[in-house]
């Protein structure tokens, strides 16, 4: 997976976030402040523009630029969180011109660690970690099983979707929804839902 692949990933994310913008905002309206779709749309649109302007040469530089742009432009809690995730992935890639599924798995673990450190959320708190952690685990398992990149990313995307769906019955312990207490039960977490979209976009980039 080279710089072009990761640029295609960001394109796929920007497209799916735009298409699912209202859905994400509706999820957020139920248990948050109804800005998740608009915030991510603004953030990833800005990230695409930044990539067009800067033309980063390595996957690492590309993802760090995406992360920095998200931190500056999103405006909600997902900015620092996704921004940190992308920056940590980019830093893990270093100067490599191309990365393997195993390296992507290591980078994803770094992203997860960064998000956990920043948001102090654990699995089961009804946050993006509930989609990110199973996806990272599934990718690591796929790498151990020697799956090809496409199959490995398919496994990660499926795990993220399943993880996001599993947030519905949970009571939020982190983020804005935690102020709602038991009223947060019965709704899918918007951050977990958008994380699942990001992994779906990664799968789509791999099958381009």
């Amino acid at each position: 997976m080279n710089t072009e692949f990761f640029a295609a990933w960001i394109d796929e994310i920007a497209a799916v976030v735009r298409a699912r913008r209202d859905h994400l905002t509706q999820l957020d309206a139920a248990i948050g402040d109804a800005d998740h779709g608009a915030n991510l749309d603004r953030g990833f649109t800005a990230a695409r523009e930044a990539l067009t302007g800067a033309s980063p040469r390595t996957p690492g530089a590309l993802l760090v630029l995406v992360g920095t742009t998200l931190i500056r432009k999103v405006g909600g809690a997902s900015g620092p969180l996704y921004g940190t995730a992308f920056r940590e992935m980019g830093k893990a890639f270093g100067e490599a011109a191309e990365v393997s599924p195993a390296e992507l798995s290591t980078a994803l673990d770094a992203a997860l660690a960064g998000v956990r450190r920043l948001g102090a959320a654990a699995e089961g708190d009804k946050t993006m970690v509930d989609a990110l952690a199973p996806a990272a685990k599934a990718l690591a398992q796929a790498v151990r099983d020697g799956l090809k990149a496409e199959e490995a990313l398919e496994a990660a995307a499926a795990a993220a979707e399943e993880g996001a769906g599993a947030t519905v019955p949970l009571q939020a312990r982190k983020g804005r929804a935690s102020y709602l207490g038991p009223r947060s039960v019965g709704h899918e977490d918007p951050g977990a839902a958008s994380t699942a979209l990001l992994f779906g976009a990664l799968r789509a980039a791999a099958s381009r």
Binding site: R72, A77, G79, P80, L118
Partner: protein
């Protein structure tokens, strides 16, 4: 003097708490409000917070006081050990305690400790 930045989702909330803290703690304290997004909405602008930190930094450190959610996460991203530190404190009471301590010439650690004392101050 230690600088203080109040970070809120709401520009109005940050400004008004700053005005209140200034009135009680003294107008000489380097204090900045960084609330809302750049387009005037509810949220946090890291660029605004970064500018506020630079504005109040007199070389003796800066205490960041966030309200909730993205304010806290943005503050955590901009922390710099020993120079720019986050105070995990009630927004209004913590801001007032911090400004009073900074106005009295307290060190960075002293201002942070004063802000944290706000947890112990009961209304009744």
């Amino acid at each position: 003097m230690v600088g203080i930045v109040l970070i809120s989702h709401s520009s109005g909330l940050a400004e008004e708490v700053a005005a209140l803290a200034r009135q009680i703690g003294g107008a000489q304290v380097p204090l900045a409000a960084a609330g809302g997004t750049e387009d005037g909405g509810l949220g946090t602008s890291p660029d605004r917070v970064t500018a506020a930190i630079e504005e109040v930094n007199r070389g003796e450190g800066v205490v960041l006081i966030p309200d909730l959610g993205s304010s806290v996460l943005t503050a955590r991203l901009l922390e710099s050990p020993g120079d720019v530190v986050l105070a995990d404190v009630p927004f209004v009471e913590g801001a007032i305690s911090a400004v009073v301590a900074a106005g009295g010439g307290a060190s960075l650690a002293g201002v942070l400790a004063a802000a944290e004392e706000a947890w112990q101050v009961r209304k009744l």
